[in-house]
């Protein structure tokens, strides 16, 4: 397998290309612009035989993706931030019509104020759209997850779209060594997409996007829920295991690091995981019982796996790179929900950090640990939702 130095966007574009998508509608947006750029180069150079559709907005990109996928072909695209939000209503249609469109999302903050840098607000805001959500820690994962996403989403037990999140700039524009599978290897791993439920055939006319009256709607939603919560976890597990057997790289919905005897466990998503891991190594060397729990799959929500990894901790420190204004961290809410009916449970604290691309450093994770240590001593967190690195002074109106 060739090792290549590439940016995160190049990894997702290469991953998509290796899956031989037949239609790619895309609209450029920072930090994902490089994806359609690479795709157009692949097409111009004759390396990729696909219908590359230049659209006038992200709403149109997703609409075209849905239209194409409804004819039964493999479709991919990429976006970020405001672009993902402009797609929002179409995201529900893609998942409701059970069209396994695979999309790379360069995780970026939302306006206002305008900000092009990393946080997870965009995909978190699209969390309830019925899409599988995968989060990459590094460029290698961005490439691998992109390819695996097709196999997961297209599985006949699942048939759901999936988005692969990779952190703006930290991954999208940063060069890393990536071990790329060859075309032959991917062809062997991923069979051509041949759906039974929806394809274009004049001999079999069908109606798609039809009305679902109150007598039927609930059942369609229930079917979607079963595909996501019952079938997708099984399929994800199978695909991750097959990937490991084929390419030697291990993936899990949730990955624990030094969690077995840990008193304090960080919960992270995306590129901050690397920094958290270095902090854990450093603090372990100093004798502190600290662990790390990385979420790779947020939807379907890996409740059982998370409980297994986090159940023994004294304090679970959820590190949220997004915000539900007026509540706190969205990931924190989900982690807390796992233990809601348990008598014995860890204390769960939420740390809002790294919004709009503010760097998350080892010393920030150390601050979180010292706050959690105080919690262990007093038995109660000083603040359940805590903001890290806020230098706030109201300026008012001038």
């Amino acid at each position: 397998m060739p090792k290549v130095v590439m940016r995160g966007n190049e990894a997702t574009a290469l991953g998509a290309k290796l899956c031989r998508p037949q239609v790619i509608p895309a609209y450029p947006i920072t930090p994902s612009t490089m994806f359609p750029e690479r795709i157009s180069e692949y097409v111009a150079d004759g390396e990729l035989d696909t219908q590359f559709v230049l659209v006038e907005s992200e709403h149109s990109a997703m609409s075209a993706a849905i239209g194409a996928a409804a004819t039964g072909v493999r479709v991919t695209t990429a976006t970020a931030s405001q672009g993902l939000e402009l797609m929002h209503e179409m995201l529900f249609i893609a998942s409701g019509m059970r069209l396994p469109i695979i999309m790379a999302v360069g995780n970026r903050a939302l306006s206002a104020p305008i900000n092009i840098w990393c946080d997870h607000q965009d995909t978190i805001s699209a969390r309830d759209c019925g899409w599988i959500q995968l989060y990459a820690e590094k460029n290698q994962e961005a490439l691998d997850l992109m390819i695996m996403a097709f196999k997961i989403g297209e599985d006949k037990r699942v048939l759901l779209p999936a988005m692969v999140g990779l952190d703006a700039f930290v991954l999208t524009h940063t060069m890393e060594i990536v071990d790329s599978p060859t075309q032959e290897e991917v062809d062997k791993f991923l069979p051509p997409y041949k759906p039974d439920h929806v394809y274009l055939d004049p001999k079999r006319p069908i109606t798609i996007g039809s009305f679902g009256t109150p007598e039927y709607y609930t059942e369609f939603r229930y079917a979607q829920e079963l595909a996501m919560s019952k079938e997708a976890p099984k399929v994800i597990d199978e695909v991750f295991k097959e990937w490991e057997r084929t390419f030697g790289r291990k993936y899990q919905m949730v990955t624990g690091f030094e969690c077995k005897d840990a008193d304090i466990i960080f919960v992270t998503m995306g590129s901050m995981t690397g920094t958290a891991r270095e902090t854990v190594k450093k603090l372990r060397a100093a004798g502190k019982k600290v662990g790390l729990c990385k979420i790779t799959v947020l939807r379907p929500f890996p409740e059982k796996d998370l409980k297994e990894v986090l159940g023994g901790a004294k304090v679970v420190a959820v590190v949220d790179r997004s915000l539900s204004v007026g509540f706190g961290g969205p990931v924190y809410a989900e982690i807390a929900s796992i233990f809601v009916n348990d008598a014995k449970k860890p204390i769960i604290q939420d740390f809002i950090i790294g919004l709009g691309g503010r760097d998350i450093l080892v010393k920030d994770f150390e601050t979180i640990v010292s706050k959690c240590e105080t919690t262990i001593k007093t038995g109660k967190p000083e603040k359940v939702v805590d903001w890290i690195n806020v230098n706030f002074e109201p300026a008012g109106v001038k």
Partner: protein, 95 residues
């Protein structure tokens, strides 16, 4: 039990005819065929295609007449409003 298809795909197209929307009606149009001139205005304006034109033999000659399909007529009253011959009257639906 409700049988659902994956992605709410309907494998029986044009099946909306099976969904009889006439039950939604609270006002009922009644056509006086003797006044109907067969101009087809109601046929054109009906938003539900609930008016069909048919042929009647009157005084040995074929004449076009409107006919209301109550399976689909929702009772909007547009036909009565557009009719230039006052051939359609609206009254409260009694069921």
């Amino acid at each position: 039990m409700v049988k659902v298809t994956t992605g709410a795909i309907n494998y029986e197209p044009a099946s909306s005819l099976k969904y009889k929307t006439g039950s939604w009606r609270s006002m009922r149009p009644t056509l006086d065929e003797s006044k109907c001139k067969g101009c087809q205005l109601c046929f054109i304006y009906c938003p539900d295609s609930a008016i069909v034109m048919c042929e009647r033999i009157i005084d040995g000659k074929p004449k076009k007449k409107a006919q209301i399909n109550y399976d689909y007529c929702k009772g909007c009253g547009i036909c009565a409003k557009e009719c230039t011959a006052d051939a359609i009257t609206m009254s409260e639906e009694v069921k």
